[in-house]
């Protein structure tokens, strides 16, 4: 799954426009991720102009994230 550092996100929806799986979407005023759809492919990270996306390979559930990443959610 991926996490997005919302403080630095410029809400350009670039990640959503390149994600082949619909695993990220603009909801309200911030990007929302759907970990169940994410395949850890990293395309969103390559495209992100603000470099605010982090990949957590193999992790499917928020509760399994490292504490540091959970704080930023």
């Amino acid at each position: 799954m991926i996490t997005i550092d919302h403080t630095g996100c410029v809400i350009c929806v670039g990640c959503a426009s390149v994600c082949p799986f619909g695993a990220v979407e603009l909801v309200g005023t911030r990007m929302k991720t759907y970990s169940e759809k994410c395949t850890d492919c990293g395309l969103c990270i390559k495209a992100c102009p603000a470099n605010v996306i982090t990949l957590h390979k193999g992790i499917k559930d928020v509760k399994d994230l490292p504490a540091e990443a959970r704080k930023k959610l």
């Binding site: 350009c12 495209a47 603000a50």
Partner: protein
């Protein structure tokens, strides 16, 4: 009042230039239309350089009010990898840098004024179907539950993300090769001459360029766009990718006129520079503007094309509503007109983009060294032969590149 028990004659998703234009034109012909936009504030956040050519505005019959224009543009300055400049100035205004936020809001207001209903901060969740046919949109106003709104025609003007069009089977996902990743600052103070400035070079902006768009009060949009498929930078999680911000900060640090300027706004964006969708319509649905990837493949600009598509689609949608015929055959009339007109131009520009991205800094330098102000004036008048012959005399291998430019 919409016909045949529907809530509206058409639901338009997205209140950008395309969506608001088609809403205005349908409403002024007495059609009952709803426009929804997921953004809290229509027009914001801005994701682009905000430039718009004058020809397009005149062609659309739009009379831009003062508050949507930041500053007029009177020409262009193009700078090569070797620092050589080519400057072209015209006597008159040939475009504007907009206050995009105000521009989008103004277009939405025009639509409302003609009778369209606009709802901001309302997200399209899914398409509603009846007997397998699109029959409306499930939408959600933030803070309340999702509900279904019916209409026989859904128009996706969703922009880059286009997730509802994707659900309807359109291939709206962008591949990395066909997008540029961009970063931009609004800066002050920058002494500009009301020229669009473009800086080329593989060290400045690989497969792209740095732009400086003048704005009022010595402000400027300083931005960069580079190929998103470039993988020269180590990004988060150790993934290699394109990082426009690093290059832009570097450009600014090396530019004595910008080095000490303030940054007022940070923008980012991913823009489409690829081919339009392979289809724009299906039964009961039309896709217009950037959602249909109707974007200039050289500079990624979408405003002018969105306005144009809005006008073309409105004509067909109007007839469809009047006849009660929402089949893809009927709606295809819009696609046909688009492909025969702006589509042809976009196709050529796509070819040119692919040629340009294969040019080396050496090739660029040769052109910048050879072309003079006089040559440029000729080119602007559409007289290519002289300047092209001059460039080719020194570098015949550029033949292929220039052929694409003038064909």
């Amino acid at each position: 009042m919409a016909k045949n028990g529907y809530d509206y004659d058409a639901i338009i998703i997205g209140a950008g230039p395309a969506g608001s234009t088609i809403a205005r034109l349908l409403a002024q012909n007495g059609k009952d239309v709803l426009v929804i936009d997921k953004r809290k504030d229509i027009g914001s956040p801005v994701r682009c350089g905000e430039g718009l050519g004058q020809r397009e505005v005149v062609a659309m019959g739009l009379d831009l009010p003062k508050e949507v224009i930041s500053t007029p543009i009177v020409g262009a300055k193009v700078v090569g990898p070797n620092g050589k400049e080519i400057v072209w100035r015209s006597k008159d205004t040939n475009g504007w840098v907009l206050e995009r936020k105000m521009f989008d809001k103004w277009l939405a207001e025009l639509a409302v004024h003609k009778g369209a209903e606009v709802r901001a901060y309302t997200r399209a969740v899914d398409l509603v179907k009846k007997d397998g046919k699109i029959n409306g949109v499930r939408m959600e106003k933030y803070g309340s539950d999702a509900h279904d709104v019916t209409a026989p025609l859904v128009i996706s003007a969703e922009g880059m993300e286009a997730h509802i069009a994707r659900k309807a089977g359109f291939k709206t996902v962008h591949n990395l090769y066909d997008v540029d990743t961009c970063y931009q600052y609004e800066m002050q103070e920058y002494e500009h001459e009301n020229l669009i400035e473009l800086y080329f070079g593989n060290n400045v902006a690989p497969r792209g360029y740095v732009w400086i768009f003048p704005k009022k009060d010595k402000k400027a949009n300083v931005g960069i766009g580079i190929g998103a498929n470039l993988a020269k930078w180590k990004k988060n999680s150790g993934i290699m990718g394109a990082d426009p911000k690093i290059l832009l900060d570097d450009f600014i640090a090396k530019n004595p006129k910008l080095r000490d300027a303030s940054t007022l706004v940070d923008f980012g964006g991913v823009i489409s520079v690829g081919a339009p969708l392979d289809k724009f319509v299906d039964d009961n649905i039309m896709v217009i503007g950037t959602a249909a990837k109707q974007v200039d493949p050289i500079h990624g600009g979408g405003i002018a094309l969105a306005l144009e598509a809005g006008v073309m689609a409105a004509k067909v949608a109007n007839e469809a509503i009047e006849k009660g015929d929402f089949s893809k055959q009927k709606l295809f009339e819009y696609e046909k007109v688009w492909r025969a007109g702006p589509g042809k131009k976009v196709e050529k520009r796509l070819l040119l983009r692919k040629v340009l991205e294969n040019m080396s800094d050496d090739d660029f330098n040769h052109i910048f060294n050879t072309v003079t102000q006089q040559d440029l004036d000729l080119v602007m008048q559409g007289k290519f032969a002289g300047p092209v012959a001059k460039v080719l005399a020194g570098r015949p291998q550029l033949m292929g590149v220039l052929k694409a430019l003038i064909s």
